[in-house]
C-alpha cells in the first residue's frame, strides 16, 4: 500500500508539471467545464419558472444536487477520467503491453497515470454552489451530516470510475470505442435529476442498483441537505451499489485481460 502511495505521489507531481507547461490549455478546459455547469444552472432556472417543486425537491435542493453532481464528477475527472478514456487507444495500438509489464497491479497502472488540475478547480466551484444552495435553503449541516457527506462523495467517485472503466474495457472487443465514452456522458446525464422523478418501476431499479447512476449524487445531496431523511439506509444503499460496481468492473477487467492478444507484438 505504501509503495502504491509513493508511486502515485510521483505521477501526481509529473502531471502537475506537465499541466503547468500548457497554461492556456489549462484555462480553456476550465472554461469549458464552467460553461457546461452554467448551462445546467440555466436549465434549472428555466424549469422552475413553471413549477416550485420537482417531485419533493425544491429549487435550491435541486441546485444542491447539481452542485454535488459537479463536485463528484469533477473529482472523478481529476483522478481517473483521462486515463480510463485513453484505455481503448492503448488496446488499439498495443501500448497496453507496457502497462501490463509494470510490477504493479494492472488496473492501478492504467487508471492513475495522469491527474487533471483544472478539474480540481471546477470541483471547488461545485463546493461553492453546494454552500450557496445550503445558505438559500437556510440549512446548516451538523458535523454528522458533513461526516457522512464526505465518504458518500468518495463512493460516488468510485461509481463514476467503475462504470467508465467497465465501458472502456469493452474496447477489448470493439475497436473503435468513442461510442463507449459517449456512453459514459449519456448515462451520467440522468445523475443530476432528483431521484423522485423516476417513479418506482424497473427503470429506477436498474439505475439505482445495476448501473447506479441515480444514487451517485442524489444520496450525498440528501445526506447533506435533507436532514429529515433517514440517513443510514441511504448510506448503506450507496455503499452496496458502489461495492457491486467496483467488484464487477474489476472482475470484467480480469476477464478481458485473459483474451487480450496485443495489437503490435
Amino acid at each position: 500500500m505504501k509503495r502504491y502511495l509513493e508511486i502515485y505521489g510521483i505521477m501526481l507531481r509529473n502531471s502537475v508539471i506537465r499541466e503547468m507547461s500548457f497554461k492556456a490549455n489549462f484555462v480553456l478546459w476550465m472554461a469549458v467545464e464552467l460553461l457546461w455547469f452554467a448551462g445546467q444552472i440555466i436549465f434549472i432556472e428555466v424549469l422552475f419558472q413553471y413549477v416550485d417543486r420537482i417531485g419533493d425537491w425544491t429549487k435550491w435542493e435541486v441546485v444542491l444536487l447539481v452542485g454535488t453532481h459537479q463536485l463528484i464528477g469533477q473529482l472523478f475527472q481529476a483522478f481517473f477520467y483521462v486515463n480510463v478514456a485513453n484505455l481503448p487507444e492503448l488496446v488499439r495500438t498495443g501500448k497496453l503491453d507496457f502497462m501490463l509489464l509494470l510490477p504493479v497491479d494492472s488496473q492501478f497502472a492504467v487508471s492513475t497515470r495522469q491527474f487533471g488540475m483544472d478539474n480540481v478547480v471546477n470541483a471547488l466551484v461545485g463546493v461553492g454552489i453546494v454552500i450557496f444552495a445550503l445558505a438559500k435553503m437556510h440549512v446548516t449541516p451538523g458535523a454528522l451530516q458533513i461526516a457522512m457527506y464526505i465518504p458518500a462523495v468518495a463512493l460516488g467517485v468510485a461509481v463514476h470510475y467503475s462504470i467508465m472503466f467497465f465501458l472502456s474495457t469493452i474496447s477489448f472487443w470493439i475497436v473503435r470505442a468513442q461510442g463507449l465514452i459517449y456512453g459514459y456522458y449519456n448515462l451520467f446525464n440522468i445523475a443530476r435529476y432528483p431521484d423522485s422523478i423516476f417513479g418506482r418501476g424497473i427503470f429506477r431499479f436498474v439505475f439505482s442498483w445495476i448501473i447506479p447512476v441515480i444514487v451517485v449524487a442524489n444520496i450525498p445531496a440528501r445526506l447533506l441537505g435533507r436532514i429529515f431523511d433517514a440517513p443510514l439506509p441511504l448510506l448503506a444503499h450507496l455503499l452496496g451499489a458502489a461495492a457491486l460496481a467496483v467488484g464487477l468492473s474489476r472482475a470484467f477487467w480480469h476477464f478481458a485481460l485473459k483474451r487480450y492478444s496485443s495489437a503490435s507484438s
Binding site: G55, N189, Y193
Partner: protein
Amino acid sequence: MNLRKYAKVFDIGLQNTFVYRWNFLLRSLFGLVPLAGTVLIWRSIFHQRGGADVAGYDYRAMVWYFLLTVLVDNLITPTEDEWQIAADIREGQMNAFLVKPVNYLGYRLSLYGSYRLLYTVVTLVPVAALIWFFHSFVVLPASTLTWVLSAVSLAMAGLIQFFIAYSLAMLAFWILEISTVVFILYSFEYFLSGHTFPLDIMPVWLQSTLRILPFTYEMFFPIAIFLGKVTGADLWSGLAIQTGWLFLTWLAAYTMFHRGVRHYQAVGG
C-alpha cells in the same frame, strides 16, 4: 465540375463507416438514456402543474418535441467530421488533397453526407421503436407546404452545422489542439439550439436574442416549423435569417480554408 468523383467519395465514406456500425449502434442506444431522463422530468413537471401546459406545450407535445430532436440529431449533427479534418491538417494528410484535382470542401461534404445517411440507417431501428412506443403522441403536419418548408430548413440546418464544424476544424492550421474551442462551441449549441428544451419556453427577452443567433437555426427552427410553432411572417423572416447564416457559415468555411492553406506547413508530408 465532375460530380462522379464526389459520388465515389460518398461511397467510400459509407464503406468506412459501416466498419464501425457497433460504435454507431452503441451511441444511439446510450443516447436513449438522457431521453428517458428528459421524458421523466417533464412528466414530473406536468404532474406538478396538474396538467397545465408550459408555453403552449402539453406533456404529449413536449415528448414529441424531444423525439424529433433525437431524429434530427441523427440526421444532421456531424459526429466526427471536425476531428477527422483537424487530424488531416495536423498529420499532413492535407498534402494529398492539395495536389489532386479535388475540392476539399466538396470532399468533406460528400463524406458528411454518407456518414449522416449511414448513421440514420443504423439508428433507424431504435428510433422507430421509440416513435412506435410513443405513437399516440405523434402529430404530423397537415399541410404539404409545412412538410416542404421544414425539410428545406432541416437541410439548411445540417449545412450550417457542417460549415461551423468545418470552419472550427480549420483552426488546426494555426493551433495544435482544437478540442477546447470545439467543446466551448458545443456547450452553446447544446443549450441554445434546442437540445435541452424547446427554445420557446425560455424567458421572452432571451428568445428575441436567440432569434438572431445561429444556434436556433442549427436544430430548433426546422422542428418548430414542423410542429406548426412558427407561422406567417415569423416563418418567412426566420427562413431568411437561416439563409443568411447558411451563407455566412459557408463563407467562413471557404475563407478559413484558403487562408489556412497559405499558412500550412505540410508537417509530416
